[in-house]
């Protein structure tokens, strides 16, 4: 396996540093500049950058092409892949395609339902689910085999991640669900945005009690609020999102012009508190259409400079 395919994110985590990742949503057009600009803003402040795969089912430039743009500018990408739009042939083929560009990380997801996007009349595929996608990449990487059993020449070499939402229902199976993802072969987890820290800590305690934190690197997901309106929207409209009343109140009690700053404050305070939670190995900062703020958050949270790994 060529060295270039080795994941920096994996090495940072395995050396015991707190990792920092962020994400870029590709544009709704073919101009790559949008993604390059976003990456340029954050590249020195994060270890890897996720590229979303038609998030919320809205058609965009494909994740793989955007990952290649990042890779070419020296930024380490995390290829997000959803099972909504591809059957097992396309999935394996795309994994090989990504591996041919030595894209070193992959995040396996089922994807938002198409009814939320710009093609609500489309079919969804869901030939396999996100856990089975993890199994698929691991089989291709570790056994060097396709799902059909044939051998792969130059198997893909990817660090394999998945998402976890500690706040969705039913809560009692959220730890078992993580255990299942770990059993499927997940090596790192990026969580849903955390606003309810008490609940997150309760979940993490369950994770540690089962020793899962020793088997998988958990990156805590954070998203700064730009405004009180955004906080209210996330609380009311985004399924599986847990925004406590006091957080919404803190945003609403802040004068409008100071709200963005307060949003960043909350985010930085959250990271500070999460740093001391056992099993948290890093942070996934999702500054939605606000990538310019990532450097400030990383710096203020004491996560800068990023470790140098050869």
């Amino acid at each position: 396996m060529s060295d270039t395919a080795r994941s920096k994110l994996q090495r940072i985590l395995s050396e015991g540093h707190l990792a920092v990742t962020s994400e870029c949503g590709p544009p709704r057009g073919s101009d790559p500049e949008a993604i390059k600009e976003k990456a340029e803003m954050i590249k020195d402040y994060v270890d890897a950058v996720n590229v979303t795969d038609n998030q919320t089912s809205v058609t965009r430039l494909c994740s793989m092409a955007a990952c290649i743009h990042l890779k070419l500018m020296g930024v380490e990408p995390v290829l997000q892949m959803v099972t909504r739009d591809r059957n097992r042939i396309a999935i394996q083929s795309d994994i090989l395609g990504a591996a041919s560009f030595d894209i070193p990380n992959m995040l396996c997801l089922s994807g938002d339902h198409q009814s939320f996007g710009d093609c609500p009349q489309g079919q969804n595929v869901h030939d396999i689910d996100s856990m089975q996608l993890v199994q698929t990449v691991r089989m291709m990487r570790d056994e060097g085999k396709f799902l059909g059993g044939a051998e792969i020449k130059r198997p893909p070499n990817m660090f394999v991640g998945a998402a976890a939402n500690p706040f969705a229902d039913p809560f009692e199976i959220r730890v078992p669900r993580l255990a299942k993802k770990v059993a499927a072969g997940t090596e790192f987890i990026q969580t849903q945005c955390i606003y309810n820290l008490d609940k997150f800590e309760e979940w993490m305690k369950g994770v540690c009690d089962r020793g899962l934190h020793e088997k998988v690197h958990i990156l805590a997901g954070v998203t700064p609020f730009k405004s009180a309106g955004m906080a209210k929207f996330m609380k009311k409209r985004v399924p599986g999102m847990d925004v406590p009343d006091e957080v919404v109140k803190r945003m609403s009690d802040t004068p409008k012009e100071k709200q963005p700053e307060e949003g960043i404050n909350i985010c930085v305070e959250s990271i500070e508190r999460l740093k001391s939670v056992e099993g948290v190995h890093g942070f996934h900062i999702m500054a939605i259409e606000w990538e310019g703020k990532v450097p400030e958050i990383v710096e203020r949270a004491g996560l800068y400079p990023r470790p140098k790994i050869d």
Binding site: H126, D129, S130, M131, Q135, L147, G240
Partner: protein, 222 residues
């Protein structure tokens, strides 16, 4: 059973507007139970069409027959002697019945009078919901008797996804999250640990993916 919904009368008129003699053919099975294509619905459609044509100043002869089933040779034979007297047959059976009529009466125009929706059950009168997608390899033994293929919007085999909220699906707040139902049921059975078994990648070749399916029972054939 198979759940179907009546097609709008305008659509049916569009198919048969040029006809002078019509047969409305009902089915006594599933479509009768879901009140889309039984004897009663045949009467309603026939009456409505007669009035439509009369209102256009045309007298179209419309006959009504409801068979025991339209998916069996022996019952479809009952219209053998009359089938060719009509300019067209509107079948109110499910898609299976419509096709069987078309196969059997090869040179006869046959139109569907219902939209065939899914395999489901009656929750209460006027309310039916899906339960099965006939994937051909039943997994209900592993999922507490609740099918995630038919009832999860993403047919996740190892769900629930992150959009499960208060027992409901993110796609539609009126829809139960199939995985919440599965977890509740496993808990009631005292078998919550079953959830942690990873369900394998599914063989969809017994589903639609494998092409049109057939069940052959040689032990039954003579």
């Amino acid at each position: 059973m198979i759940i179907a919904e009546k097609k709008p009368i305008e659509e049916i008129i569009g198919y048969v507007d040029d006809c002078g003699k019509l047969l409305i053919l009902g089915c006594n099975e599933c479509v009768t139970v879901c009140e889309a294509g039984g004897k009663k619905e045949v009467g309603i459609l026939a009456s409505a069409l007669r009035m439509y044509f009369l209102n256009q100043g045309r007298e179209v002869k419309i006959d009504e027959i409801t068979l025991e089933r339209q998916c069996d040779h022996e019952y479809l034979e009952e219209i053998r002697d009359v089938a060719d007297q009509y300019d067209a047959i509107v079948s109110l059976a499910c898609g299976v019945g419509v096709q069987f009529v078309a196969e059997k009466y090869h040179s006869q125009r046959v139109y569907p009078g219902v939209n065939t929706c899914f395999l489901g059950a009656t929750e209460e009168r006027g309310r039916w919901s899906e339960r099965c997608q006939a994937c051909g390899t039943c997994i209900l033994a592993y999922t507490g008797g609740i099918c995630p293929i038919a009832r999860c919007a993403k047919r996740l085999l190892n769900g629930p996804c992150g959009g499960s909220s208060n027992g409901k699906c993110e796609v539609n707040p009126e829809l139960d999250c199939a995985w919440q139902l599965i977890i509740d049921r496993l808990k009631a059975l005292g078998r919550l640990e079953d959830y942690e078994k990873l369900l394998e990648i599914k063989d969809w070749s017994t589903d639609r993916a494998g092409g049109p399916r057939k069940v052959v029972r040689e032990d039954l054939q003579i």
